[in-house]
Amino acid sequence: MILTAIFAIGLYLAVLVLVVGTAFRLVHYARIPVPLVIPTTPAPVTRIGVVARLLREVVFFESLFKGSKWTWLFGWIFHFAMLVVLLEHLRYVSEPVWGWIVAIQWIGLYAGIAMCLGLVGLAVRRVVVDRIRYISAPSDHLMLLLLIGIGASGVGMKVFWHTDIVALKAFVIGLIRFDWQPLPGDPVLLVHLSLVIFLMLIFPFSKLLHAPAVFFSPTLNMVDTPREHRHVSGWGETRTSHRKVVSQEPKPRG
């Protein structure tokens, strides 16, 4: 029971920190002005074009593809395998399990393996390429190890050390309904959950923030229409408000 309580409280806390911490950070970004128009050009000239640009970035990693094919390959495999794995995990929170989640269950194992392989590729690159080794802090290596630990323990449970997933699901549903149920005590599961809790806790305070932050990047999210629309934002506006008066003067003509 103590074990159940520790992990229940840990997961509540982790979700709270993840959601509130990240929201805090994003609201903070949103409140800071963007005084000048700085999209990296050529840039879209319409809002829809900007949405498409951001979609290409987050779905295909378009710029990274231009930048480094190996990093793109490992990075893309890791992120999209992780997405599939996350979707597959929805079976623990949906009751009854949604049909499309049932339909993707068979990919789960392969996605988990792909995720680990992508991460190992990134980790090897971080050590082998002298330029990337130079820019890596201990936390950059550890972050990859953390994710590899999560992926490997997950795959391990699928293949070798099966856990009682019916009881696990009861535990998760119990958390959602505030009606705690016992957590299976398998060591690999506890390692898996502990690492996930840790990942969620550090999310708002680390480079993991890159996931939501990309949408706030002015070089990617601004429309390239500075001549057509006068851009004013925050303190830039107060500094240039006298313009309105100047522009009302009679138009000088020679």
Binding site: P35, T40, T41, A43, T71, F216, P226
Partner: protein, 498 residues
Amino acid sequence: MVKQEFPVPVITEHLQVPRVQPDAMAETKPFVAKAEFQEALGFPGELVDNWQSVALDKMSELLGKYRALPVFLDACVKCGACTDKCHYYLGTGDPKNMPVARQDLMRNVYRRYFTFAGRYFPKLVGAQDLTESVLEDWYRYYHQCSECRRCSVYCPFGIDTAEITMAGREILASVGLGQKYANEILGKVHKIGNNLGLPEPALADTLTGLEEEVEEDIGVKVRFPLDEAGADVLLVTPSADFFAEPHVDGLIGYAKVFHQAGIRWTLSSYASEAANFGIFIGNYDQMQKVAERIRQAALDLGVRRIVIGECGHAWRVAYSYWNTLIGPFDFLDTDYPAPQHMCELTYDLIQRGALTLDPAANDKKIVTFHDSCNVSRGSRMGSTPGGQFTLPRGIIQAVCNHFVDMAPETTHEQTFCCGGGGGLLTDDLLELRVKGALPRVTALKQVVDNHGVTHMAAICAICKSQFSRVLPIYGFDMDMIVSVHQLVGDALVFDSAH
């Protein structure tokens, strides 16, 4: 080949990514601005005693004023995609010239003082105290970045090192460590109206001389009007166009275009400079103040259009920032975008068949085009994205029969900086400029060897000055670099009846 005190890189057939050579450029830094030039811009004259707290206060202020700064400092995952993209890294091998490492000089300090992880676990996340040696690194390496934005093209989060460099220079200036070259130039613009400190009588003389020269050359009286109220167009061009080679041939080109199109135009002695070094030092106030002169000149002269000559960062400031800084431009003719690039004007005239051109006049030249960084990655021409690439090429192809593009990974938005942009076009940084030009001259050598290219056209005064200086060091002819509007001017056919 000119003798140099430092080894000139060898051009290889294909550009090599160098191995990391720590501190390879640690000895290179520009002169610090003298007190009188610092103070004239409102900065402290020399390094203040409490520089650490002043710097951190400034950093805190900037983090609250520019959203890009905290987003860029937080979002980097150290993927390394940018590490082999900077011309200064490619030319020097100094790891602090890798864009992410240049950002890290500030990011590590940001983490130490402004983030939870850096405050409590500095070693783990690479956070660093703002020590004197860090400040020295800032001064060195924020003056080894030409703010060209090439790295931002490859970053999955669009992180633009130029924004970090600008913030870095802004903080440095605020503690008393401004850069001599940029700050002296800003002083001249405020005092006299242009970067060169060329006063009105000298400018008038120069323009009269050009009128005579052109008339002698082609037998047509092409005017170079100055301060003519009631002209349709105010042309604002980098002051190097008034006398430097090959810039001045570009100015002659503009004048010929205006002449043949029958457009009444004028230059202004009050706003005789398109360049705006305010962007280079990252200072909004300076940038606005410099731009203000142009709005004032346009109002005083009563013009209907403002056109910008060939200058890279000037066009970025004019195109992207002017409307914010000195707009709205509701006193101008609404039929024309404000401001307009000279290439937009010329391209439009060519499309309408308003110019008589004989491209055979340039038949002895095989021309390539150097995309300037600020034009390519910080602005646009025409109405569609990428017009900044198609318009200049369209003009060149209309006035030259032989045009060859350089390798695609070195043109358009992937273009390499000339090596002298961003306020680094000064002789105290010559070694950096030469090494930074390596990626561009490597691509140039390919088209010279394979296609017999004889000339490289550009639309930026800094590029032209930089190439005139470094091309001979690499064994090329100094006259290889030309203005796009020189090519136009040479191809224009004038009716002998004029």
